[in-house]
Symmetry: C2
Subunit: 333 residues, 2 copies
């Protein structure tokens, strides 16, 4: 019977968690940072329809998979991607060991602070730069580098650490979906191992629920200790058509809820909403130049063009940040 004690303890703990979560949920209206506009109504109606047993659109809890792009959907991607900021810092840190970078692109531009040429490569180009500058260490070492970087990095506009830069309405949406039995995943063009150290704190998403771009790793024995070495080889680019492929590979269930903000999410939006049964897609439209950034069709980062053109006829919800969101960040007044 002693062996059952942990089971009992776990039971009590989970009861407390379930009850506490439910009480706090009851104590407040869902999605408090959303204005009472059609966007909020549509989201809540979808959740109600898919979670009400007996209704036509009911979805069993196990199939309630919700996927979220990260850059520009959950946190800002302007003035440029958070991971690009990390890349630039890494290039600067490593440059003394690489004198050849002074004359070699893209390192030359980075060291000279010229980001125009870099940005032309788009999200995929950035991924490649990440791969070429972020290999040669073990996975544990890389996790430490990322954690140390996030501890010091600040967003240039707000001066806040990035785990506070998540859009509050999106964080509430994640919580709301989880309260309703959804399992929430990130599906990002960014590197899986760049996001994992921060997603729990920033979004309440555990590291195993991150789908993203990966570089190859290699098992090796170093001083009789087995490690995984990150090798300079792209394993998978989770962007554009790669996003449905990434979801299929990592999750293996078709999501019923998807949120994105750019044409890099277009294929994922189509794939989710074309599937049999319920499928809800939303696009975060960056319309608030004062509180955040205003951009879409012509942006170097997070260009939203084709997906915006097709949103209406495909019944994708376009969220207008300026009018649909009461607050952008938790630290906003």
């Amino acid at each position: 019977m002693i062996a059952r004690a942990p089971g009992l303890k776990a039971l009590v703990a989970s009861l407390i968690v379930v009850l506490a979560g439910s009480l706090s949920a009851l104590a407040q209206e869902a999605l408090p940072s959303w204005n009472d506009t059609a966007a909020k109504t549509r989201i809540m109606e979808f959740v109600k329809a898919t979670t009400t047993e007996g209704q036509d659109g009911y979805v069993a809890p196990a199939d309630r998979i919700a996927v979220f792009d990260n850059d520009g959907t959950l946190w800002p991607e302007q003035p440029y991607y958070v991971q690009l900021r990390f890349v630039l810092d890494r290039v600067k840190v490593l440059s003394p060991q690489h004198p050849e970078w002074k004359t070699k692109e893209p390192f030359k531009s980075i060291l000279e602070g010229d980001l125009k040429g870099l940005a032309k490569g788009g999200e995929k180009g950035m991924v490649e730069l990440v791969m070429s500058t972020h290999a040669g260490m073990t996975t544990d070492q890389f996790a430490k580098i990322v954690e140390d970087w996030f501890a010091k990095a600040r967003h240039p506009k707000s001066g806040k650490p990035f785990d506070e830069m998540g859009y509050l309405p999106m964080r509430e949406l994640l919580d709301y979906l989880r309260d309703n039995g959804f399992k929430t995943y990130i599906v990002s063009g960014g590197g899986v191992e760049f996001m994992r150290p921060i997603v729990e704190k920033a979004y309440g998403i555990p590291p195993e629920q991150v789908v993203g771009s990966t570089i190859a790793t290699e098992y090796a024995i170093v001083g009789d200790v087995p490690v995984l070495k990150r090798i300079p080889k792209i394993d998978f680019v989770d962007d554009g058509p790669g996003k449905p492929a990434g979801i299929n590979k990592f999750i293996g269930r078709k999501p019923i809820f998807v949120a994105g903000n750019s044409d890099g999410d277009y294929q994922m939006l189509r794939w989710v909403t074309a599937a049999k049964g319920p499928g809800f897609a939303m696009i975060v439209h960056h319309t608030d130049g004062q509180r955040e950034y205003a951009y879409d069709r012509k942006s170097e980062f997070g260009r939203l063009d084709k997906a915006l053109d097709e949103a209406e006829r495909r019944n994708w919800l376009v969220v207008n940040m300026k009018s649909d969101w009461k607050k952008i960040y938790a630290f906003d007044q």
Copy 2:
């Protein structure tokens, strides 16, 4: 307030699940199909140590990741891998469309019922054959093919469908770990999309908790419907040194519990037990020729040699199926 109703319903449902699970767990001793030998004691002591708060070896629930090889660890891999059985059937079904297979290896051997040459390629060779014969359809179509096959396939010795071929003591171990807050994953050399349709029923493991070999997929629009096509290109081989890499890629946390049965699990066993903090490794040793199969160092499938040599000095538990397990299958008398 209407929008909160699903939350309440979900709360009640989860309370019922938690309570029912706990009562049924309390009603019976853990691991009933295990004999009262040192193996059972060691497993239970590890679980107690890692789940008892305040103890040195305590592990927070989120970090209680347990990974299980599939073939030979959770279900039989003799007389040959279940997935190879599927491959052979597929080759026969598809052969009328491929007259060239009559003279081309490895198809020729398969069509002639000669498996000796095939087996020499080992698990990796099998994965390659799977890749070359299982592409050209969408992921949805492939899932349907697999489901249809499992509905009819039977193990040659027992005549039972494969979802009943899981080793009962291992199924109990999975339940026991989950009762104690562990998250259980499969980490197999087999194909992810071959296992996913059956793992929930066979092991209580959801499809998103399967790490395995993958083939590449490609996003395509077919008649205005977005699909993922399986293309004949190996994406990842989750065997040997690939297993730690697969765990890192798909899960991103280091497991604290690992079970395997062959040298294909060796690197995964080492990686888990070399990590800082608690790490428990077990090897299922096939010693019961009467109730199951007896094999290790010389087997064509699931060869256990190096891992067996090193088990004692690395403190890996070697489970003796014959003496440690009361029953092998649920259908055993």
